[in-house]
Amino acid sequence: MKRKIEETEGNIQETNDTRKTEAQNGEIRQSEPTSYKKGLFAPLTREEISSFKETENLFKSGLLRMQITELLSEVVPKKQRNKALDEVLHELNSLLLSLPDGTEEHKLSDHSWLPSGIKFPLPTPAVPVKGKFCFRKPTSVKVVGSYLLGTVTKPDLNVDISVQMPKECFHPKDFLNLRYHHKRALYLAVLASHLKQSSFIENVKFIHMNGEVLRPILLLKPKGLKVGKKFVIKLHPCLSEDTFKLQRCAPNMSNIEQDWFMGEAAKEDESNDSSQPTPHYNASILSDMFLEQHLHHLYKCLQDFSGMKDAVALIKVWLHQRELDKGPGCCSGFLVSMFISHLLAVRKVNKHMSSYQILRILLQFLGSTDLTKEGIIMSNEDSSLPSKEEFHSAYDVVFVDPSGYLNLCAGMTVAQYRRLQHEARLAMEYLDSTHLDGFEILFMKPVPFVQTFDHFLLIPNMSALEVICQRKDFMIHLRDHPGDWTPVVADWLLHLLTKGLGKRVEMLCYKPQELCQWPINKAPPSASRSSLMMGLMLNAEHFDAVIDTGPSADKPEAKAFREFWGEKSELRRFHDSSILEAVVWSCKNIAERRVVCERIIKHLVQRHGGLKPNCLTFVATQLDGVLHTAGSSDSGTQAGDEKTQKILQVYDSLCKEIRALDLPLSVSAIQGVSPVFRSAEVFPPNPCFKNSKIKPSADDSELPNNLLIPSEIRNTAWCPALQVMLQFETSGKWPNELTAVQHVKAAFHIKLAELLRRKCSLVTVASPKHIDVQKEGFVFRIKIMHRGELTLLQQMVKEKKTGDEEKAKELEKEIVHLPLLASFLHGIKQKFIGFTGTVRLSKRWISAQLLSDHVTEECVELLVTYLFLSPAPFTPPRSPLVGFLRFLNLLSSTDWQKTPIIVNFNDDITAEDYQEITSTFTKNRAELPALFIATPKDKFSLWTKEKPSKQILSRLSLLARESQSILQRQVETCALQPTDFKQIFRPPLDHYDVIIHLHRHLLSRGVQALDCSKHVKELSSSSRPSPLLPVVNFDPAALYLKELKEAFADVALFFHDVYGGNLIGVVWKPQSFVATKFKPLHACHKMPLTNPLSSEKSKQPKSLMIPNVSAILTDFQTIGEGLVKRIEVMSA
C-alpha cells in the first residue's frame, strides 16, 4: 500500500472554529457570489472523499500526515544509491566463504599465534580459560538486521552481516566458563586479520555489541567515498540454533563455575554457592544463537506491512532524539521491531494501520505496561520452557523472544526502562494535546541528557568504586558479568540511591554512554577508566525534606532502617505522639535544603561502599556563585531566599498598617509590582538605613528634613525602592480633569506620608508622584493608582492627537498591565520551585552580556515562565541550573521570526485562541515585535514592543548558543578538571568600538559585580534604625547610561551590565556614518566634512555631514563627569 501524500487531494480537519468559518463565508461571498460550484466549492469527488476519510482514520490531521511523510523521506536513505554498497557486500561474502581453515589447534589461553597487528578483543580473565580452538571457515554469511528489513535510518546507517561460525569449532559444553566467548573472540580476531588485508575495506575496528564486553563485533568501513561515507558494515558472529542445548542457557542455570571463577580463592571460601544462576551470561550466548531466527520472525511481520516499516523509522528518530538508543541496555531499533511484532501477535496492531497509529499504540503500550512486574513472553505456553517467574527473578525487565529462552531486555536496567516509560507517557500527552505541535516535539527537538534532569552526580573515574567489588554479596553478580565489573557497581549504586532518596526523586538514570570502539591492534579499553554521570529528576514536593521517617521503633523493620542509615538514624517523637526511627538532615537555610540529596548520597556511599565522598561530584548549585553579592557578611549561605522572605514579611506588615489608617477613602487593593515581590529579583536588597553621610543643610527650606543626599565623590550603597501600587475604593469624588486628579493624588501622598509617620512611626517622604516609606531598612515606593487618570489622559490624546501618547501608554502599562502581570507571575512562582532560581540566573546572564538595557526584566520573566508552562519535550525544570540551560537553549534554538511565544497563564488560552494568535502572527509578522510574546490578556506582545530589537535578538541567540555549549560541557566535565562556572557570565569585549570605563568606587551596585573581590567600602553597615530616608534608587551608572542614550541614540548603541558593571560598551551605528547633506534638524552632533577632491572638480563644493566623533567622545567624558575613569577607543 503506497501512501504518497501528493496523491491525496484533501483532508478532513475538525474545525470547531465556526466563527472563523462564518467570517470567511461572508468574505468569500462578497467577492464571488456565484462561484460555489467551481474551485473550492465544487462538490467532493470520490477520490477526495476517500483520501479525506483515510487521513481522518489513520492520522490525526492532514498536516501531521504530511509532516511524517517529509520526515521519513529525510531519515530513510534513498534506495538507488546502494549499488556500490551491494558490490562491497558481494565481495565480502565471497571473501568470507573462501577463507582457509586453520591448520592447528591452539589452547584458548594462548593468543601468541594470532597474526601480528591483531590483539585479542576480550579482557584477560583472572583464571585461564580451558579448551582448544581451531579456525574453520564460516558456514554462511547473510545480510541481516535493519538493512535487510528496510528499517535503517539516519544517522546510524549500518549493514548488519551475520557470519555463522561452524559447529565444529565448538564443543557441546563450551557454554561453560567463558569458553564460548573466548572462541568467539578468537574467531573474530582471525576474521579481522583477513579483512584487514582486503582491498575493499578501508578500516577494521572492534566494537562492543550493545555495550556487552563479552560480545565484541567487527566494524568495517568500506572503501570508496560513495559507500564508505555513510554506511558502515557490522559483522556479527553467530551460531546455529542447535549448537548448545537451550535448556542449559535458561535464566536459572549457572554456567560460570564458582571454582573456576574464583580460582585459588574459592578453595578457602566455605560458602560455595555454585548453583547461583548466571542469567546475563546465558543471555549473551543465546543472543548469538537466535540472531537469524529473530530476523526470520521480523521478516514475516513486515511482509505486506508498510506501516510498520515507517513506524520503526519514526520511533527510532524519537528514541535517537532522547539518546534512548545509545549505550548498553538501550532500546534499539531491533527491540522496537520486536515490540511491534508482539503487538501484532496479540492483535493490538493490524497490518492496515498507518505509521502514526502504530506509533501511538506502541507509546501507549510502553507507558501502560510494567515489564518489570508483569513481563511478556512471546512464545506459546509450554511447561518445558522457563517460567515467567524465573525470568523476573533473573532480570529487571522481561520481554522474552518467541523461542521462550532469551530475554530481549536482558541488558536493560530498571532505570532505563522507567525513563523509556516516562518519555512514552510524555509523548502521548503531546500527541493528544490540542495546541502543541506534537510532531515538532517528538521528532524534531533534541532532548539532551543535561537538560532533562535537575541535578547530576558525576563519578569522574569508575576505578574509585572498584573496592566495592570485594564485598561478598557481590560475587554472584560479578560471576554473571565476567570480565566487566562496572555494570554491577553501577547497578548497585543506582539501587542504593533509589532506596535512600525515596520520594525525593521521580527518576534516577545514568547518562547513556557511547559504545567504545577500538582499533584491532589495541587491547580493548578498560571500562574502569570511564566516567559515569547520573541524573536526578527531583520531586518538587519532597526533594528538600529535612527529615526521613522510618518505621516505628518497636517494629521489626526498624532494624533494617537503622542498618541502612547507620548512626544517622535516631528515634524521634512526632506531633502525633508516634515514636519513629528518623533521619534528620539539619539545614541552616533554604540553599542548604536544596542540596540535601547530595548529603544523603555522600552519606550512603560512604556507609555502604566505604567510599570517600570526594570521589563523587554533585552538580546542582555550581552557578549560585553568580547570585551572591560580594562583601556582605552573609554571602554563600544566604542566597537571596531568606532576604526575599524577610522583605515579604515587612511588606505584609506595612500593608496591614496602611489598611488600618484612617484615610478619606478606604483602600481596596495593595499590590507589590517590583520583581522582588514575586521572588524574581536577581539581588534582593539588604536592609539599608543609612548609605550617605550628607544631610540637607538646616537652612535649606526647599527640601524635607528627613532625607539623605547622595555624595558625588563617595560610594552610595544601592538601596532600591520597591514599588507598591495602592488602589482606593471607587469614588465619584475624584475630579474630572487631569491636572486636578494629579493634584489630588499629591495631596493623598502628603496625607498618607504624614499618617504613616505619625501613627506607625515610619520614615516617610512624600513627593508628587509617590511616597517613599522606609520600614525596617527597606524602602517601599507607594503609588496611588486611579483608573480615571488613565481615561482622562487617553481622552486628551484622542482629542489632541499629539504629545502625550507616550505618557498615556506608560501609565496604562503601569496601572493596568503591570499589576496583572505581577499577579500572574506571582502564581507561577508559587507553583514551580525552580522558577525563582531560573529567572535570577537568566536575568543575571543577560545583564552580564551587557544587554540589560536591551531586554526588559518582564520579557525575561515571561520567557522563563514559558519554559515552565510549556516545557515540552521536557518536564518543568526543578533546579535553577537546568532551567537556565533550557533558557539558553530557548534563546538559541528558537526561530523568532517564525515562532510566537504563547505564555498560557492558568490555561486561559484555548485551542482556538492559539490558532488565532498564530495566524495573526504570521499575517502581520513584519509589524510585530522581533520577540513576540502573547499572554491571555495581551495578544500583541506589549512587553517586547520596544526591545529587544531584531539585531539585539540575533546577537542574544548567538551569545546563548555559545554559553549553552560551554555550560553543557562544564556540567559534564566539571568532575574531571577545575571548572570556572562564571566563565559564561564574563562578556566578550572585542567587538565594541569604544569602551567607557567607570570608577568602581562610585558604582552603587558595585557589590553585585561578578568578580568583585574587594570589599567595596559602604556605609550600609549601619544597621541602626535612622530617622532619615536613605538614598533611594541612586545608581550613577544607570543615570549616565540614560543620558548617553538621550543624546546619542541615533549614532550609537550602548551596552551595560546593570549589576555593578564598571564599563559601558559603545557600538557605532554604521548607517549614521554615511555622509549626508546638511539638514538643520538632523545636524545633531555632526560636523561638516569638506572633501578636497570634490572641491577641485566642481566649483560649488557640497558640504557633507558626518558625526563629530572626537566631540562625541569628549561629550562622553563631559556627561559622565566624575564617574568616567577613561574612554578606550578600540582599534577598528
Binding site: 504530511m66 508628587p768 543615570l1039 538643520p1080 545636524a1083 545633531c1084 561638516p1088 563631559t1118 564617574l1123
Partner: protein
C-alpha cells in the same frame, strides 16, 4: 577611529552657502576639552509670527549639546550684544511652558536640542551673523559652571523630593482655584440647561448621574450592524463552505510544509 582624521580637515573651510544658510561657531564645555561641537545658527525665519521671537532680532541655533543651559547659550552670544531672551526646545515649533509647579514639574529637554536667541537690538543680530566661524567658545564659566555628571545627578536626586509643606500649599491653592472654577462652570451649565441654543436645540441630560456615558463611535456601530446582517444568512450552503474550508486548509497545510521543507525543517539532527 575611522573618521577621526577628517575631524580636523573641516576647520575654517566652510562656506555659509554649503549649510543651507547656516553659520557655524565652535563650542566646548570647558577649557580642558580638546574637541568641540559646531553650533549651526542663522536668522530666525518662519511663516507664523511669534511675538516673543521677533524675526529680525532672533537667531535660530541647532545642535546645542545636552549640557548647554540657557545661561550658557546666552553667554556665548553676549559678545554680539545684550540678549533679551533665550529659549531651548527639543524641536522647533514645540512650545515650552514656564511653570514652577512642584506637583507637575515641566519636562526638561533632553539630548541635543535647538534654541532661539532673542537680542535686544537689531544690530546684534548682524554682529552674530558675522562671527568668525573659527572662534571656540567655552560654555562653562567660573561663575556659572556647566554642571554635569555626578554633581548633576546629585542635584536631580534632591529635586524629586520637594518640601511637603510647600507641596501642600501648592495643592491647596490649585484645588481652591479648581473648585471655584468648577462651581462657576456648574452654575453656567445649570443656566444653559433647557435654554435653546442658536439653532434652537435644547440639550438634555448632559449632566447628572449618568453624564459620563460614552458616545459610541458611529463607524463602530455601522460595522457591527454589517456583521449582524451577514450572520443572518449563514445557514445557506453551509456544507459547501465547509468543503471549501477543508480544501483551503489543505492547501494552506501544503504550503506550510513546502516552506518548512525549504527551510530544512525536517532534518531531525
Amino acid at each position: 577611529m575611522r573618521l577621526n582624521q577628517h575631524g580636523y580637515l573641516a576647520r575654517n573651510s566652510i562656506m555659509a552657502s554649503d549649510l543651507a544658510g547656516f553659520r557655524t561657531i565652535c563650542v566646548k564645555s570647558n577649557e580642558k576639552c580638546v574637541s568641540y561641537h559646531y553650533l549651526y545658527y542663522k536668522k530666525h525665519e518662519t511663516r507664523e509670527k511669534d511675538e516673543s521671537k521677533p524675526q529680525d532680532k532672533t537667531l535660530f541655533v541647532v545642535n546645542i549639546p545636552p549640557y548647554c543651559t540657557k545661561r550658557a547659550l546666552k553667554h556665548i552670544f553676549r559678545s554680539c550684544g545684550s540678549v533679551q531672551n533665550v529659549d531651548i526646545v527639543k524641536h522647533p515649533g514645540v512650545q515650552t511652558e514656564e511653570t514652577t509647579s512642584l506637583v507637575l514639574p515641566p519636562d526638561t529637554v533632553k539630548g541635543f536640542k535647538v534654541g532661539f536667541v532673542v537680542f535686544k537690538k537689531l544690530s546684534s543680530l548682524d554682529a552674530a551673523l558675522n562671527l568668525d566661524s573659527s572662534t571656540v567658545k567655552v560654555l562653562s564659566t567660573p561663575k556659572h559652571p556647566v554642571v554635569t555628571g555626578m554633581k548633576k545627578w546629585v542635584q536631580e536626586y534632591q529635586m524629586q523630593y520637594p518640601d511637603a509643606s510647600r507641596l501642600q500649599a501648592e495643592v491647596n491653592e490649585f484645588m481652591a482655584n479648581y473648585d471655584a472654577k468648577k462651581e462657576q462652570l456648574d452654575k453656567e451649565a445649570a443656566e444653559a440647561r433647557n435654554q435653546p441654543d442658536e439653532e434652537g436645540w435644547i440639550t438634555v441630560g448632559s449632566s447628572g448621574r449618568k453624564a459620563g456615558a460614552r458616545i459610541k463611535d458611529v463607524m463602530e456601530l455601522q460595522e457591527r450592524r454589517k456583521k449582524k446582517k451577514l450572520g443572518k444568512n449563514k445557514s445557506v450552503q453551509v456544507v459547501s463552505f465547509f468543503i471549501a474550508n477543508l480544501r483551503k486548509k489543505f492547501e494552506e497545510d501544503k504550503k506550510r510544509i513546502a516552506e518548512m521543507k525549504s527551510a530544512r525543517k525536517f532534518r531531525p539532527y
